[in-house]
Every structure is written in C-alpha cells, then in structure tokens.
C-alpha cells in the first residue's frame, strides 16, 4: 500500500494505491489512522469484526471509514491493524485490531470528523487499485 496526502485549504485528503481491492480498503483505513496518531504507538489488544453493505464501492469506502470513526468516538478505541477478509462491490468483511485511547502514549496529530463524499473515487488501474478521500478535520 502506498499513500500520499492531498493539499486542501481547510481539510486533508489522501490518495491510496494498492495491488488488490482488499489491500486498498486496509490501506485507506491505515492512512486515515496515521493522520490521527502515530500507528507505532497503537497496540493490538482488542479486535472488532465489521460487516458492511453498500450500493457501490465509493459508498462502501464511505461507510467503512465513517464506521471506524464512529468506534473511535463512541468506544474510545484506536486501530492499527486492518484485515479485509472479503470485499466486493456491495460487501465488506473485515477485522480490525487496536486498543483503548491512552493519553499517556497516544499523541494526537489531528481530529478527523468524517470521511466525505467530496471528490471520492475508487478506481481500478492498469495494475491494482486507487482511492481518493477528503476528510473533514
């Protein structure tokens, strides 16, 4: 997985490339969390299973990222491990691992309010996949 941030005046965007669709979804989540906190500091002590459904790949990505942000907010969990078990146009099955926020060890870089639909893309390329997401920060 390779990712770079996109310059945006008010917010932050990412562009992620990966060999497979599963790795693309893992990569976008990893990239999003790396904007929030140093992933090296997040231990993998708890797991969550996610099973999501959507009408198309962009919606699936929108739901995936916002579902993870919901868990951060509601349960106070951070994630550093993402394993997509199954992904298609309309379904995603994944396991994520991480731990409870610990203010001693987790120094926040950025608050991400949400993943937006603005200029969101999920595309197949000659070799692999590419996604683009702009976050509201």
């Amino acid at each position: 997985m390779r990712f770079k941030t996109i310059e945006h005046t008010a917010d932050i965007g990412i562009e992620v490339e990966a060999d497979t669709l599963g790795e693309l979804f893992e990569g976008t989540a990893a990239a999003m969390f790396s904007l929030m906190v140093d992933p090296e500091t997040v231990r993998k002590t708890v797991e969550r299973e996610l099973s999501l459904e959507a009408g198309d790949l962009e919606e699936l990505l929108f739901i995936w990222l916002n579902e993870l942000l919901f868990i951060v907010d509601a349960e106070g969990l951070l994630f550093s491990g993402f394993e997509v078990k199954n992904v298609g146009d309309s379904r995603l099955l994944a396991t994520t691992s991480g731990e409870k926020i610990n203010p001693e060890r987790h120094k926040f870089l950025e608050e991400i309010k949400a993943a937006t639909y603005h200029e969101m893309t999920v595309e197949r390329q000659d070799s692999g996949w590419k996604a683009r997401v702009i976050f509201d920060v």
Binding site: E7, T9, A10, F62, F70, F108, T116, Y117, H118, E119
Partner: protein
C-alpha cells in the same frame, strides 16, 4: 480573470451560468480583488458553481468574503431553496450548528492580566478539550432526548446557567422542529458523554479584551466598552453532528439516485423539501443544533465556574452575561423577499452567519431595535469582531455575512512552515498566552494560515452585509 466572472460593484462579483453547464442561477461572490484571487487558487469557485446546480435554488449561489474550498458547499457558502427545492446535508456540513457565543464581564484588562496564566490553567482543567476527551456530564438516552429537543433550555434545567441566557441565544435556546426519533442510535451513542466538551481543530475558548469600539451607539446597546474583558467560546455539536450528517448523506445519496436528481458532487446529495428524507433530516438537524447550543451552554458554565473560583466572586457579580450565541453551519426555514415576493426559503449557511437587521421577527426582544449581534471568531493571533446585522444583508445575501477569517493555507503546509513552539513564543511576546494539547496542532491554526479577518469584515461592511461594532483582542487562548 476567470471566464464568466464579472465585477458588479466594488465588493460583488457574478459568476455567470455559462461558467459551467447545469448552473440554474449565477454565483455571487462578495470579495475584493485580493480575496477573490485567494479563492481562485483552490476549488472554491468551482464549488460555488456546483451549488448552483441544486434544484429550487433561488437568486444565486452566494459566497461570503471568507470563501474557501470546503467539501460539497464551499466554506462561506450561502444558498436558499424555495419550497419546491431541496435541503442538502452537505450544505450544513458535519459539524452541525458549529458556532460561537460571547460572554461579557465587568472586569477590565488590568484585573485579569496579572493572574491570567492561573485563570487559563483553571479553565483548562475544567473544560474537557482535545481528542478523545469525555465530558463530566453524562447524558443517557432519556436525558439526551431532552437535550435534542430542548437545547440550552434542557442544559439550563440540568443546573448549568441562568434563565437570562436563553433570551440571548438564537431561537430562545432551542431550535424548533426537533425529532429525536429521527436520530440514529449511533448518534445517541456518540452524544452520551460529549456535552460540555470543546473538541479540537479550530475550536477554542478565548479570554479577550475589547480593544476598540467602532460603533459606539450599538456597542453601548450590546454592553461593550473599550478595555472590557470578554470570553468567546467556539464549538459545535461534536460527534452527534458528525454522525447525523454521515447518516443523512447516505439517506440523501439513495434519494438522489432513486429520484434521478443530477448533482455534480456526491457530497451535495439532497432531497426535495417535504419528502420523508428531507423532513427526517430537518428534524435530526434541529436535534444536532440543540446539542450544539446545549454544548456551548455547558462550556459557558465551566468558564463562569472557573472565573468564580479564580476571582472568588459569583459570576453574576463578575457581570458574566451572555451577549449572544449564534451558529454558522446551519439550514433553516426563513421568510425572505425575492423580486418583491415573500417566500418561505430553506436557507443553508455553510460557514456563514445570520445578519438580521433591527425589527427582524426572529430576533429576541433585547435586539429588536438595535439588530442582531454577529460574532466573528478570528484567528488566535489577530482579532475577533462583534458586528451588527443590516437591512442590506436581507436584500443581498438572505440576511447573511461572513463567519471568520477563512483559511488561506492548508494544514499540512502550515505544519511544515510554522513551528508551534516558535509561534507560542511569538504570541506570548505579543501578550497572548496559548494553552494547547500539541504544538503541531497549534501551528495549523497559526494566524498566517488564515486570511486577514479585518479585511474580511471590512468587505462585509463595504458590501453592506454587516457593520463593525467592536474589535476584540485575544489575551489567553485555550485550544483543543
């Protein structure tokens, strides 16, 4: 100059419908040449054009002088839709009803300056701020329902504040039409322990001094004078708003597909006013609006409590009256006159503030004669402003004006080019103490990352959208 963009007057530009095929109305941008040039460096004008595609849009897709690239609507965007038009969650944003309130005191700068660091430390320990911080006010479902419908009134009933606060809050402290059943369990979950928390990003609590009164008559009516200390609170609806926007973007996204509404950006998903989707969203939006007003009410309580402990006096004795509380991310039904015809319109303000003139029916009695206070948070190194609403705004901008300085530099560039610790030292040398969780977050909010707020409010005044009443200078800033 961009093709299709022409100057109408000193501070007003029109983006013709030829700019992009599909625009139903022109874009109208309030700016001078310099601010317009700043806006043209990113995709802000493109977003002004995109909003003009939405069904039922009336008169124009407007942009205030603090215009910049957002997601969906531009930041600084204002659009009104007739009853056969739409409502769009992307026209309000994720931080629903983000806004500001200004608390007055009867203290002078000299009373506060000597012990300021201690006062700020006290506020920092009382106000939960930053990422992942929980509030001390717990709101399980039944209580949260009350906040969703009652707003500041519900928070007052919980013991935070006094009756007079409600008279100085938009809608008397609670948005009408709230439907707590239209809010998802996820939003309830996120809202259970975030009431009275500041959040992060550009949110702040700031101790300020009135540096200059610019319109003495109105300042007198507002109870502001030079040398007086004020406190400004900038926060929103926290996770509740983020979740409600996320939920309804999906609902609207499906509606757009089902109804065959063509939009140029998926974030502009919308539904016709009167449809179930739109009515549900409006009901949930009011809940988030109420949570935001309630949140600022609770934050004000912690601020007052901190002052009470620091000065060993009651907040009433310290004259800590609320001037006004106002949102700058909101959609609501308002009556406006368009081409001589009175119309009920759904006005979206995405990073724009209501600017109602004297006599406006939505104003509380205290401001009926003088007009609505408009509170403009600046960046932490320069100034904030209090403005007053105007009759011209009703004709020109659906009763709207700017909401702040508006960003000019991306966050990543600010982090790369500005050192947080140097910034802190520089601000201290200017008499501004900043308390923040992290230096890099501080750098993102540096004054040079923003447009010149004084220029922005000058253009608003030049265009007649609002008048400057007082300029406030920060003394101490609490950042998330």
């Amino acid at each position: 100059m961009v093709e299709g963009l022409k100057r109408i007057s000193d501070y007003k530009w029109e983006l013709s419908t030829d700019y992009k095929a599909g625009m139903r109305v022109p874009g109208i941008v309030f700016a001078d040449e310099e601010l317009l040039n700043l806006a043209m460096r990113d995709k802000a004008l493109e977003q002004v054009a995109n909003v003009a595609f939405l069904p039922g849009i009336v008169y124009g897709s407007l942009a205030m002088p603090d215009l910049h690239w957002g997601y969906g609507f531009p930041i600084g965007g204002v659009a009104a839709f007739s009853e056969d038009g739409v409502v769009s969650p992307g026209g309000v944003g994720f931080d629903i009803s983000c806004g500001v309130r200004l608390v007055k005191t009867n203290l002078e700068e000299g009373d506060v300056r000597p012990g300021l660091r201690g006062l700020l430390a006290l506020m920092a320990s009382n106000v939960p701020k930053g990422l992942g911080k929980r509030g001390s006010i717990k709101t399980p479902e039944q209580l949260l329902r009350k906040v969703f419908t009652g707003g500041a009134r519900a928070v007052l009933d919980m013991g935070y504040g006094r009756q007079e606060d409600l008279e100085c809050t938009e809608w008397g402290g609670s948005y009408p039409g709230a439907g707590p059943d239209r809010v998802s369990p996820r939003a309830y979950e996120r809202g259970k322990d975030q009431l009275g928390t500041l959040g992060s990003g550009n949110h702040f609590v700031e101790v300020q001094v009135v540096e200059k009164v610019l319109l003495p008559e109105v300042a007198g009516e507002f109870g502001l004078h030079e040398g007086q200390v004020t406190v400004m609170i900038h926060s929103g609806s926290r996770g509740v708003g983020h979740q409600i926007c996320t939920d309804y973007l999906q609902v609207m996204d499906h509606a757009v597909k089902r109804m065959g509404i063509e939009i140029p950006d998926r974030q502009l998903a919308c539904a016709p006013l009167g449809s179930k989707e739109a009515s549900d969203y409006m009901a949930a939006l009011a809940c988030a609006g109420n949570y935001a007003i309630g949140n600022r009410q609770a934050l004000m309580h912690w601020v007052r409590h901190s002052f009470e402990r620091h000065f060993k006096s009651s907040e009433r004795q310290l004259g800590m009256d609320l001037l006004y509380d106002i949102s700058h991310n909101i959609a609501r039904m308002e009556t406006h006159e368009v081409d001589g015809k009175r119309m009920e319109l759904c006005v979206h303000r995405k990073g724009a503030t209501a600017s109602f003139p004297p006599g406006h029916p939505d104003l509380p009695p205290a401001f009926k004669e003088v007009g609505q206070p408009v509170i403009i948070p600046g960046d932490m190194g320069t100034h904030s402003y209090v403005l007053v609403g105007s009759e011209t705004a009703m004709r020109e901008s659906f009763g709207s004006t700017c909401h702040g300085a508006g960003r000019a530099m991306s966050r990543s560039k600010a982090k790369k080019t500005i050192s947080g610790s140097e910034l802190r030292a520089r601000l201290e040398s200017e008499g501004i103490i900043v308390m923040s969780e992290k230096d890099s977050l501080l750098a993102e909010e540096a004054p040079e990352a923003y447009k010149d707020v004084s220029r922005v409010v000058d253009i608003c005044e030049g265009a007649g959208l609002s008048r400057k009443v007082a300029m406030l200078k920060p003394m101490g800033v609490l950042k998330g």
